[in-house]
């Protein structure tokens, strides 16, 4: 039992409850408390990363119930990595939000914190049904956040997003029911023990359940053909919300990594590597679709939203192949792409605020007031996202390519990733040159000067791609160890033997 594991859930929960009751408090007080909550959350996730880096599994059992009978939180390297990734993204989105985007809705901070809570439960839980609950918590907060700012343009993408995710939740419940009806358990470690023993019709039911689960995770991760809801929804969201949503697709990828390596991993007998032969071609098609969408985008936010889909494809291709090097490279790319995309959403919003009625459309418009600063940020973000040297996207893509060095997979992965990157560069350079270089004479209403919060947040997220390169050594050591830990799920099963009555271990 390690009580630190509850910190990333309890901190945003308590902070969020405070915000709910403080809807009419002065905005400066609400902002201070909200930021303080996020900072505390970041501190707690850093503690968890330090805890997790000794390669052991830590367990928190609710109510001291022995797993698999109770719900457990499990901390390993992957969970810690996802937690700190989310917390760092969240703190900068939050700093950006207090620059003015949080006005107009008294519950913005509460929803923001509940969203973080849902994400953190999803990363920590060791129980399949609890994962469903976590998805619902983060989704219902995200429905509210997506509508934040109001306006007619948001109601239709919001409706599509909600209906799609409700259908996804129904499929999740059906697959959970199918798996439970045969195995009698939903604890992931216990499932990993029971699934290899299945045979006959029982195995077929679990197989069908497992494939339906993959559909749900693919919907969250925005894998083709379930990705077309994303560009509209993300492009219409307020900038800090869209930037935070950059991690939402990664929850789907996290769930695929967790469930399909642990429960349907190499040791799962007849169900080993379930669905992974589907995942690889789909990932490559997703990447291609993302590039096509990026080339056709008519405004910056849509362009960045398609970048989310490109990164999903790039991430899932090496994960589907399942080698340690590939998973490690994918985790490195996960860090890089999430922060970069978050930063690009913020930059797109800052550009939109300075261009009058042209907003973030890729058209010529009068010169922006802070053109130099914004164009440098956009350049850094675009270089990191497209994967050009010297920023982190380049190293991450290089690691992904290096992880596949033989067979037809290599031919497919290398050609799709390299050609895709080339066209991504074209999409960004087209957008950047039109938005930043081709200006026309004209008068636009003098925009508000860039606030300190806003500049710091966007600058820091873009700057993280430089930090990732500077610290590439220790980070890739951590991701290597994470991949090794994920591919050796035998130790995860030890949590079932943790004695509970004795108390601390």
């Amino acid at each position: 039992m390690n009580h630190w594991l509850t910190a990333p859930i309890l901190i945003p929960l308590l902070g969020g409850i405070l915000q709910v009751f403080m809807g009419y408090a002065p905005i400066s007080l609400r902002r201070t408390l909200a930021i303080a909550t996020t900072v505390l959350l970041l501190a707690s996730t850093i503690i968890l990363v330090v805890l997790a880096s000794d390669d052991s599994y830590r367990l928190y059992a609710f109510g001291n119930w022995q797993p698999p009978f109770g719900i457990v939180l499990v901390l390993d390297r992957l969970a810690a990595l996802m937690l700190v990734l989310t917390a760092i993204l969240a703190i900068f989105c939050h700093i950006f939000a207090i620059g003015g985007a949080d006005e107009g809705n008294r519950q913005f901070h509460g929803l923001f914190l509940f969203q973080l809570m849902g994400l953190n439960i999803a990363f920590l839980t060791g129980d399949l049904f609890n994962l469903f609950v976590a998805f619902e918590v983060l989704l219902i907060a995200s429905y509210g956040l997506l509508m934040h700012g109001g306006g007619r343009a948001r109601s239709i993408p919001g409706l599509h997003y909600v209906v799609l995710n409700l259908a996804g939740s129904a499929i999740f419940l059906i697959s959970v029911g199918m798996i439970y009806s045969v195995t009698g358990t939903l604890n992931m470690a216990d499932l990993a023990l029971k699934i290899p023993e299945l045979a006959g019709e029982n195995m077929s039911i679990v197989k069908a359940g497992g494939m339906m689960l993959l559909v749900v995770f693919a919907l969250k991760a925005a894998l083709i053909p379930l990705c077309f809801w994303l560009p509209k929804a993300y492009a219409s969201a307020t900038a800090p919300v869209a930037a935070l949503f950059a991690v939402m697709t990664k929850v789907g990828i996290y769930a695929i990594l967790r469930v399909y390596l642990l429960v349907f991993g190499d040791d799962a007998g007849a169900l080993a590597n379930l669905g992974m032969d589907w995942l690889f071609p789909l990932a490559l098609v997703t990447l291609t679709m993302g590039v096509i969408g990026a080339l056709g985008a008519d405004n910056l936010k849509t362009l960045v939203a398609w970048q989310v889909i490109i990164s999903v494809g790039t991430l899932l291709a090496p994960i589907a192949l399942g080698s340690a090097a590939g998973i490690s490279a994918a985790l490195f790319y996960l860090l890089s792409s999430t922060w970069t995309v978050g930063g690009l959403f913020l930059v797109a919003e800052m550009v939109a605020n300075q261009r009058g009625s042209a907003k973030d459309k890729i058209v010529t418009a009068p010169r922006m007031r802070n053109r130099t600063f914004l164009s440098v940020l956009f350049l850094v973000g675009a270089v990191a996202a497209a994967g050009l040297p010297p920023l982190s996207g380049f190293f991450a893509k290089l690691l992904i390519l290096q992880s596949v060095l033989s067979g037809s997979e290599m031919a497919w992965l290398w050609s799709v990733v390299l050609i895709g990157s080339f066209f991504t560069v074209i999409a960004y350079s087209r957008a950047g040159s039109i938005v930043f270089w081709r200006t026309v004479d004209g008068h636009i209403e003098e925009p508000r000067p860039l606030g300190g919060n806003v500049s710091v947040a966007a600058g820091a997220l873009a700057g993280l791609s430089v930090v990732l390169v500077a610290l590439a050594g220790p980070i890739s050591e951590f991701t290597d160890a994470t991949a090794a830990q994920l591919l050796n799920p035998g130790d995860y099963l030890e949590i079932l033997k943790t004695p509970m009555v004795e108390g601390d271990n």
């Binding site: 049904f129 609950v133 619902e136 219902i140 429905y143 509508m147 306006g151 007619r152 343009a153 109601s155 239709i156 919001g158 409706l159 599509h160 909600v162 209906v163 409700l166 259908a167 939740s169 129904a170 419940l173 059906i174 959970v176 029911g177 199918m178 439970y180 009806s181 009698g184």
Partner: protein, 122 residues
């Protein structure tokens, strides 16, 4: 009992999916509700159907699995909240676009609304 139960789940889910694919928000909301009924019944049956059995050990000859009942309860609560939200969102969309089409307008109106961009709000 199994056959009736399975038929009910099948009918609920099939009608739910059919309604979900409609183009108006009201059938979509009803479809989602029907699907969630079907899913809840399905989840309930994953602990096996039993008559006269209680989810408590030692009170009867057989016992019913209590876990699916807890899962269904959670699913009902979540499903209810989500349905309430989607109803409000549909009403909002109706008020914003004067149309309950899921895309805000019908295809045949596309040229009509394109001529009046100030009305589409884009």
């Amino acid at each position: 009992m199994e056959l009736v139960f399975a038929l009910v789940i099948g009918a609920l889910t099939a009608s739910g999916v059919y309604l979900l694919l409609r183009a108006r928000t009201f059938p979509v909301v009803v479809g989602l509700t029907l699907i969630s009924y079907g899913v809840n019944l399905f989840l309930f049956s994953s602990g096996r159907l039993a008559t006269g059995a209680q989810p408590v050990l030692g009170t009867a000859d057989g016992y019913a699995d209590p876990l699916p009942q807890a899962l269904v309860l959670t699913a009902i609560v979540i499903g209810f909240a989500m349905t309430a939200f989607v109803v409000v969102l549909s009403l909002r969309s109706l008020a914003d676009h004067d149309d309950d089409h899921v895309d805000g307008h019908q295809e045949s109106d596309a040229t009509h609304t394109a001529q009046k961009p100030e009305e589409t709000g884009k």
